[in-house]
Every structure is written in C-alpha cells, then in structure tokens.
C-alpha cells in the first residue's frame, strides 16, 4: 500500500476544507471498498479523510412524510431499523441480501452508493481499463464479460454497478443529499445520481469534486405489503448479484395503482424499468401481464460475447419478483 495521511475531522466543514487542500483525498466510510482497492493499488489517495464518525448517523422523519437516512449510518443499522423494516421492507430486504453481516456492520449508506464496480479488469492494475486509467482501453469489451452490462454500456466501458441497496432505492424513487465545499447542499433524484459510462467511464456518478453525501431521503412509505427483492447469485450469500430485481406493488381494486421496478447487475447504474412500470400501471397483476412487462423490459438489451444468458435470466427474474411481491399480500 502507498503511504497516505489520515485525518479525522470533527465536523463536516472541517472534512470539506481538508478535501480542498488536497485534491488527491478520499473520504472514508466503513472502508470495505476503499481499503480493498487501496491494497490492490487501484485507488491511490494521498490523504484519507474519515467521515464515518460525522454526525449523519440517524434515521429521522422528513417533511415529505417519509424518512431520511443518515449517510454515515451502517448498512446493518439501517436495514434493521424498525422504521425502515415497517415502512420500506423492500429496502431492508435488498440491503440484507448484500455481502455478509460483518461487511454490512462496517459499510455505510454513503459508501454503499459509491462502491465501485467489481469488473476484474478494474481490480487488476496490469490490465487495460478505461475506468481506472482513462484511455487504456476496456479489457472486458472483448474479454471475460459474463458478469457485465446488457443495458446502457458504451464501447469504452461495459461494467455494472454492484450495489443491492441502490436497486431498491431506484425502485423507491429516493433522493440523495450532498454537501459541497463552501457549505451549500443540493438534492439529486436517485436515478440521476449514478451515470452511464459514455466516453467518461472514470465517472461513476454526478457528484462534484469534494462533495460529501449527507443523506438519502425516502418518499412517504411505499410497498409495505407487496414487495420482493430477488437476487440471483452464484452462492446463497456473500456473492454479488448476477441479476437482481426490486419489485414493489400497490394494488387497489384488483389493479396495480403504483409500481416500483428496478434491476441490478445489468448496467453501469441501478436500472429502473420505466417502460415495464408504465405498462403495468393500471393493469391487473396477472402472470401474463408480468411476462409482457418482462419482454418489454428486456427488449432493448444488448448483449456481449459471454452474457447472453442475462436476457433469459432477466425476464424470469422480473416475472418471479413480481409474483413473489404479489404473493406477499396477506
């Protein structure tokens, strides 16, 4: 590991100021992603600014009738919090499917949003990778890409975003609050937070240099009775999703009145299935309708040499997740 300095600011202002003095800085949440990448020589900050202990570690109700998750709260505390379990069980379910209990205890909500892709070329510094080293080429494009994207990729990067939590946040239509050096804060729609690779795959998201995530805002409680997070993976725990689906349904009078549907493991960002959502809204929750929605959702998929299976898997996963969500009704 390369030498670096370590600071523990007491306030967010101190943290923001520290980042301005050294543009090579990285904020440290739980470190479960950043430290791994530093050991691999992928991330090379010369200054580490610890933000995990800053005062953004509570869950409070917000003025939209929903709840606000502190960015520094751990994934475990968030997923197991009574307000979250009761009001957003879809989010709890997604978060608890991730990693292991030990990692979730360390991982922070802010860090989860910013965890980097698991693309093996990104992790191996001797390989070409535009995300790690812009201009070096994309090793995966014509290499080992069975776990890579089928939506929204570009010739310069075909990576996927690995988070489970984010798939649920996309389905729930959360927003992210950021604070930048100088003190002003802003709020971004969750679907605008992560970006597609385009010709700048080194940028995972739309954050500005030095910004700190302070909170994730959830709208008023949603999908408390009809929800499911389906995660297909190579082993029963401690593995990233090959494909995942977050599905939430609001049903009234035998019809779907509100729906949240998003996929993981398929794109550079959590992939909201907008067409499928629109198709199902106002329709009856039947298997035939679910299947049509799944067809619609996968229609624009563009596969790589090794990931054609994701189209079949994606369709089946959507239908199954919706069926399971439906079956949750008492």
């Amino acid at each position: 590991m390369r030498p670096f300095t370590y600071t523990q600011p007491k306030t967010i202002e101190e943290a923001l100021t520290a980042s301005v003095t050294n543009s090579d800085s990285k904020y440290l949440g739980g470190g479960t992603n950043l430290v791994d990448l530093m050991k691999e020589d992928v991330e090379r900050p010369s200054q580490i600014i610890e933000v995990a202990d800053l005062d953004f570690n509570t869950i409070t109700s917000n003025d939209t009738g929903g709840f606000t998750l502190g960015a520094m709260l751990s994934n475990s505390e968030t997923a197991n919090h009574p307000d979250i379990r009761k009001n957003y069980p879809l989010l709890s379910m997604a978060m608890l499917s991730a990693a292991t209990a030990q990692i979730r205890n360390m991982a922070t909500n802010g860090g989860n949003l910013l965890q980097r892709t698991r693309c093996p070329y990104f992790f191996e510094v001797s390989m070409p990778c535009n995300k790690r080293e812009p201009g070096s080429g994309c090793g995966a494009l014509e290499g080992a890409n069975s776990k890579h994207a089928i939506f929204g990729w570009s010739e310069s990067c075909v990576a996927t975003h690995p988070s489970d939590m984010c798939v649920a946040l996309a389905a729930l239509e959360a927003t992210v609050t950021l604070q930048k050096p100088g003190g002003t804060s802003r709020t971004i729609e969750f679907t605008d937070f992560h970006r597609l690779p385009g010709d700048q795959p080194e940028k995972d998201n739309t954050m500005l240099p030095g910004e700190i995530i302070t909170a994730i805002d959830l709208p008023s409680p949603k999908f408390q009775s009809n929800y499911h997070y389906l995660k297909i993976r190579e082993r029963s725990s401690y593995a990233f999703a090959l494909i995942s689906v977050a599905a939430g349904l609001q049903i009234s009078g035998g019809k779907i009145t509100d729906i949240g549907l998003a996929m993981g493991g398929v794109a550079h960002k959590p992939w909201k299935l907008i067409k499928a959502e629109a198709f199902l809204t106002g329709k009856m929750p039947t298997k035939a309708n679910f299947e049509q929605a799944a067809e619609l959702a996968l229609r624009d998929a563009k596969t790589l040499s090794d990931n054609e299976y994701k189209v079949t898997m994606g369709k089946k996963a959507i239908v199954r997740a919706l069926e399971q969500a439906l079956a949750k009704t008492a």
Binding site: M1, R2, P3, D41, R118, P120, Y121, F123, E124, S126, M127, G139, E142, G143, A144, S146, L230, I232, R233, E234, R235, S236, S237, Y238, A239, L242, E308, Y309, K310, T312, M313, K316, A317, V319, R320
Partner: protein, 722 residues
C-alpha cells in the same frame, strides 16, 4: 495439554491439540519468534509469455527499510532441471529466478527483502519490469494440436474397446468438463528460513517434512542432513503443501544472501499464481452395456494442460480402470503444454474429477437402460480389481449403496425426471459410488516412556504432520491403546525432520501409516521391557515392567511398512453419496437439501475426526458443483478470479445437513490395525451425485462444472425427457 482419560482408539474424543488451537498457542510457520528477522515479498510477472528486457530497482532500493532486491540477475545459481518438461513429484527441485524467461502470468520475477513486511510489500510494487512479450498459449481449444502422451503409463487398456462397444445393446459417448481450481488452505504458505554456514533451518508450512528437506537440499546442492524443516502445525494443504514451492527456495536464498533469517509469506492473491492448481480436465467417456445392465465397455480419455517447463498429470482415468467389472476398458491421458502455472495434486487428484465424469456417465447409462442407478452399479460390482487382477483387500461398495439407499429413502426418488414439485422448486435425488486408493507407507516412530510416581507417561515422536485432520489425536489414541495407559498420559510431538521418518500427510495415507508406526514403536518398547523384566504387560502393567527393571525412563523406535499381503491385494476405500436437491423452476438456482455419505474405510480410529474429514470432503465436492472455478482471462492469460470475493467456495447456507455412516470394518490385509484412508474419500464423486440429482429434478444433464445459474438457466432438457 491433553486431558482425555479414555484409553485406546475408536472413541470420538476431542482433538488433543484443540485447546492450543483455540487459545492461539499452536504456532504456524510464520508465527515463530525468530530474532533479527527480515521480510521478503515476491514480485509477479504481468505477462504470460516473453522475456524480461530491463529491470529498474532504483526506486524500490531507495525506500526506507529495503535491504535487497533479488532478480534473476543476482539470484544464487541453483540446480536446474536435467531434462525438458520434467515430471514433478513431492520432492522435485524448484529452480526459481534463474533466467529472464517468463512462462506464465504471475510467475515470480523478483523478491524484495526489507525490515518490515509492509516495507517489502510497498517496495515490491515499485520494481519496474520491461518485457519483450510473445503471444502466449492460454486457450485450451487452440492448444489441442500440442497434446502429447506424458508417459507410457498414461495409457492403459484391457480387452478390446471397439468390440465391447459393438457388443453393447446400449452405448453412451459424452464429454465432461471440470475447470481449474485452487487448493486455498486456510493457512497461507509461509517459511521462516535461516541459512547458517551451509546449514538450513526452516519453519515451513509443509505436508511432507522429509520431502521438503530433500527439495531444499537438492535445489541448493547441499547435503540433506544439513537441512532441518519444522512444522508442528499446518493449517491445511489439500495437496498444495505436499511439495516445497518456490517461495521456500526464495526464503532460503534470501537468508543465504543476507546472512540473517528471512520470512516469506505467500499472499492470498499469490496463492492463485504461485502454489499450483488443479488443472482443467476435458474427459470423454464411452460406455457400452447389455440390456440387462452388464457393462461391456468403458473408455475414459482425459485432455488437460501442464506448464511449458514442468509436467504434471492428474490421472482422471484411475477410477474407470477399477471401479466396475467390465472386460473391455481403455484409459488415456494427454497433456498440452500451455502458458499456465504447473498443476499439482489437489485433494483426491484424479478421483475427484474422474469420478465426476464416470459417475455422471453411469447415471446417464442407467437412465438409458431404464434401470435404477443403484441397481445398475450393484450389478457391475467386482471383488477383484480388473486392472491388476488382484483381489480387493475388502470392498463394500454394494453395501454402501444398499444401506445408503435404505437410510436415505431412495424409494421416494421420482422415477421420471422433472416430476416432483414443491412450490417453485423441482425436487431430485442423486447417487454416486466412490473409491479412493488407500495407500500405506513405510513409517517410523520413537516412543519415550517415563515413570513418575506409579504412572507411565509416554511421548511419541515422528516427522509426521497434522494438517488439521487430527493426526495428533489418533496417534495419541494409538499409543494409549498399545501401552494401555490413558490418552491423557500420552504426548505427541510431530513435524520436525529430527524425528523418525514418515511420508507425511497426503494421499489419504496419514492415519494408517502414522498409527501403525506408533504401534510398532510401542510394541518394540513393550517387547524389550518384557524381556528385561521377565514379566508380561498383560499381567503386570507397564509401570511394573519399568519398575522391576529399575527404569525411570525408556526409549524405543519402531517401523511399520506394507507386507506381502498388502502388495498382493488391491487396497481401496469405498463409499456412496446420496443427495437431494431442489432446483428453482425459473432462476437457474439450486439448493442442496440433504446429503448422506456412506463410507467403508477400515477401522475408524476416532469417529469425530473421521466425520470431519468426510463432511469436509462433501462440502469441497459440493463446491466443485456450486461455483468453484478459476477463470483464465482469454486475451492476457491472468486469472480473473483472484480473491475470495470472486473465487466462490460454498457458504453455510449452500450446505444442508450431511449424515455420515461408517460401515463397521477392520481391513487386516491393508495393515495390522485394519485402517484405510478417509481424507479424500469424502470429496470423491460428490459432484456427480449432485449433478445426477439435478438431472432427476429437471431432466437437464449438466456436464460442465461448476453448475452456475448462468449455465443452468439456459440448459435444455435431455432429449427423451418428457
């Protein structure tokens, strides 16, 4: 350290060294307190084939704490291989850093030695290499033309295979694939080496102490008696520690150059590139049978790879030669030199992989013949090893199958694939038969007896190793039995080349060899004491024997080795595995619901440690099916699975309850104590049992391991399945 007051073998006692382990007092190779220690970190090549044209060590050498950077330019000249592509064994030399050539991605190309581990690791990342790169052979398919026959023994045949197939009413020809896998014992490979005036002392994590001393001595061309290797505890090996790898030589070389002790630990990443692997095997099986189920032909062709500078062949066809009665049999092994690391033995080499192919094919045949797969195997039993014409010392395969079927509830198995449902799941049952050679090696031991008050305390010494399997415990139990004193009064000291010689742990020979070695030493001690005193131990007891000779201490050595009876028989352990799986109808995911392993492996010295071996083997076998594989990057030749985040071994949730039944047996032909191996039987054929259950559940025949969701979801049903 040992508190068990029971006497003798056969009791399920706790591990005698268990307390030390849980208290952190059991010392592993890199934990010894050696003064003035320096730390070495290996540097790995970043190309798969080519030559080093320039090395810039200046930046690394400038760093604080860095003592030396070793490359091929300033490395000691070591003994080189005499031949091209030498077959490697557990005691082969290990030349390293001897030229500018790079043979595979991740090969050691240098070493940084520094005052601390962190300094060495950081400086290692600063050494800059320039290569002249060549196109590597990393693609299995395009290497086929290079396939060659490693040795004459790579081919075997009896009868006439084409005639056997022609006589058959039903035939099958299929190809089965198993991927590259890695051993990954929990303890990282490590050495602390001290070179002192041509004498070497090394704490090294090795399975075979005597062979490690030989590798060091031969590679440095010094006398073996000047090398001492110590490994009281080894945190697993699975075959990767049978042989002293290159880091052992690098550690010794660094110590020689520096004139001070050096520690070298292989990192988890380097455990993929520098401690060998299980090779990918493509196995073609042909089977012929009469409509009544009797086999007329069995053929097994294996195509695999070795490195471009060393040869190792995994003998997948071994099982096919001997497991079933068939007059016509052909077995072939071919290797392709490729720019990949040299493969080496991994738990049940040949059997774990070969039995996946054979036992899957047997299941396919049973289905074609419309026979129950248990009955089909029972029908083709043989009590004589058809490959050697020697009788089996004991063979209870049919009993394993029949008892297993009864206990498992095999009669509930769906007769037609894909017909038993539970909600979104399809339920299936699978079975496989297993065999694993039960070797027995020449083994010596020393017993030291001490009389304190009126009690005798014994210490057993041998250079055997305990690789986590329970060697300490069963040796203590054996000595307790033959000396007729409580286990608590026996101390066992292992893992030091100054102790009497054994062949260490590996190949499932440990338990039988170590126990009989300890037995021989104890019997010799008693015989001498009886002669001296004129008393009989049975009447007087050990303490009286010693007292009557005015002895407060007494030593004896003994050696046990295979006799004529052993050599005149074919000696194997046998078993059967039964599995129930649930396969999701849609998502490509499956779950193991329960498993039963029936094992016939001679006398069970300690049911608790033996049980651990079998269930550990079953989990490792399940890993072969669930997700375990090392993937080669198709353009550059590095491994894209390079940490436990992507190299997936089973987690608790993947496994279900595993029941084990040991058939009561003592195989006195195998050895005096009637012991056969258990360590590798458990993993053997588990993969086939699971794959066969998946077929029974879904009608999908999965012939490529691992059976990941990405494969299962797009697999088609077998032709003929409704």
């Amino acid at each position: 350290m040992n508190t068990d007051i029971s006497i003798g073998t056969g009791n399920p006692i706790d591990r005698v060294e268990g307390r030390l382990k849980v208290m952190g007092l059991a010392k592993y190779a890199s934990e010894f307190n050696v003064k003035n220690l320096a730390y070495a970190q290996g540097i790995n090549s970043t190309i798969a084939k080519g030559t080093i044209t320039a090395i810039d060590t200046s930046e690394a050498e400038k760093q604080k704490g860095v003592i030396k950077v070793l490359t091929y330019k300033n490395a000691d000249k070591l003994k080189q291989y005499d031949e091209e592509l030498p077959a490697i064994s557990t005691s082969s030399i290990q030349p390293v850093l001897q030229s500018a050539d790079v043979h595979y991605y991740g090969e050691y190309v240098g070493l940084v030695i520094a005052e601390t581990f962190e300094q060495a690791q950081y400086a290692a990342s600063l050494v800059k290499y320039t290569y002249s790169e060549e196109k590597p052979d990393i693609d299995f398919d395009s290497s086929r033309a290079k396939a060659y026959r490693p040795t004459e023994k790579s081919d075997y045949s009896r009868g006439d295979i084409s005639q056997g197939l022609a006589e058959a009413d039903v035939t099958l020809e299929q190809i089965y694939n198993t991927p590259i896998e890695h051993h990954h014992p929990m303890e990282l490979h490590a050495i602390i080496a001290s070179w002192n005036n041509g004498n070497v002392e090394a704490y090294a994590s090795q399975q075979i102490i005597d062979d490690a001393t030989l590798t060091i001595a031969d590679t440095f061309q010094i006398e073996k008696k000047n090398v001492r290797v110590i490994a009281p505890f080894v945190g697993g090996g699975f075959g990767s520690k049978l042989h002293a790898k290159q880091h052992v030589i690098l550690g010794v070389m660094a110590s020689k150059q520096l004139g001070r002790p050096v520690q070298m630990t292989v990192t988890r990443n380097q455990m993929f590139t520098n401690t060998n692997l299980r090779q990918r095997n493509e196995q073609k099986i042909q089977v012929g049978a009469k409509s009544d189920g009797s086999l007329t032909a069995l053929s097994h062709d294996t195509l695999s790879h070795t490195s471009t500078y060393e040869e190792f062949q995994e003998s997948c066809g071994t099982v096919t030669k001997m497991l079933y009665k068939t007059p016509n049999n052909k077995v072939r092994h071919r290797l392709m030199p490729m720019n990949l690391q040299t493969p080496f033995a991994m738990r049940a080499p040949g059997e774990a992989t070969g039995s996946f192919a054979l036992e899957s094919a047997m299941d396919e045949m049973a289905w074609k013949l419309k026979m129950d797969p248990v009955d089909f195997r029972v029908k083709n039993d043989t009590q004589v090893d058809p490959s050697s014409d020697k009788p089996f010392s004991s063979r209870l395969l049919n009993e394993c199958l029949k008892i297993g079927a009864k206990e498992f509830g095999w009669e509930d198995r769906p007769q037609k694939p894909g017909t038993k449902e539970e909600g979104n799941w399809l339920v299936g049952y699978g079975v496989s038969g297993a065999s694993r050679r039960a070797p027995y090696q020449k083994t010596s031991a020393k017993v030291i007896l001490e009389l304190k008050d009126s009690e005798v305390f014994a210490t057993i010494q041998m250079d055997a190793t305990d690789i986590g399997t329970g060697s300490y415990t069963i040796i203590a139990q054996t000595a307790s039995e033959y000396l007729n004193i409580p286990v608590a009064q026996v101390d066992v000291e292992l893992g030091d080349s100054d102790f009497p010689k054994t062949l260490g742990s590996g190949g499932s020979w440990g338990a039988a060899s170590f126990s009989n070695g300890a037995r021989a030493a104890c019997e010799n001690a008693i015989a001498s004491l009886e002669e001296k005193s004129g008393l009989k131990i049975a009447d007087a007891g050990l303490a009286k024997l010693m007292r009557s000779g005015n002895l407060t201490s007494f030593e004896a050595e003994g050696t046990a080795e295979p006799d004529e009876e052993f050599k005149n028989h074919s000696v194997f352990s046998f078993g059967a595995n039964f599995t129930e799986v649930w396969v999701d109808k849609d998502t490509g995911v499956f779950r193991i619901k329960r498993m039963l392993n029936v094992a016939s492996c001679g006398k069970i010295l300690n049911p608790k440690t033996a049980f651990g071996q079998i269930i550990g083997g079953c989990v490792m076998g399940a890993g072969m099916v669930i997700a375990e594989q090392t993937k080669v990057e198709p353009n550059y030749g590095n491994f894209i699975t390079r940490s436990f985040a992507d190299y997936h071994v089973p987690v608790n949730l993947d496994m279900a309850n595993i029941d084990v039944i040991f058939l009561p047996e003592e195989d006195k032909i195998a050895n005096k104590m009637g012991i056969k191996g258990v360590g590798e039987l458990g993993i053997t054929s588990v993969a086939a049992s699971i794959a066969n259950a998946i077929f029974n559940a879904t009608g999908k025949r999965m012939r490529d391991l691992p059976i990941t969701p990405e494969k299962l979801i797009v697999a088609e049903k077998e032709p003929g399945v409704a």
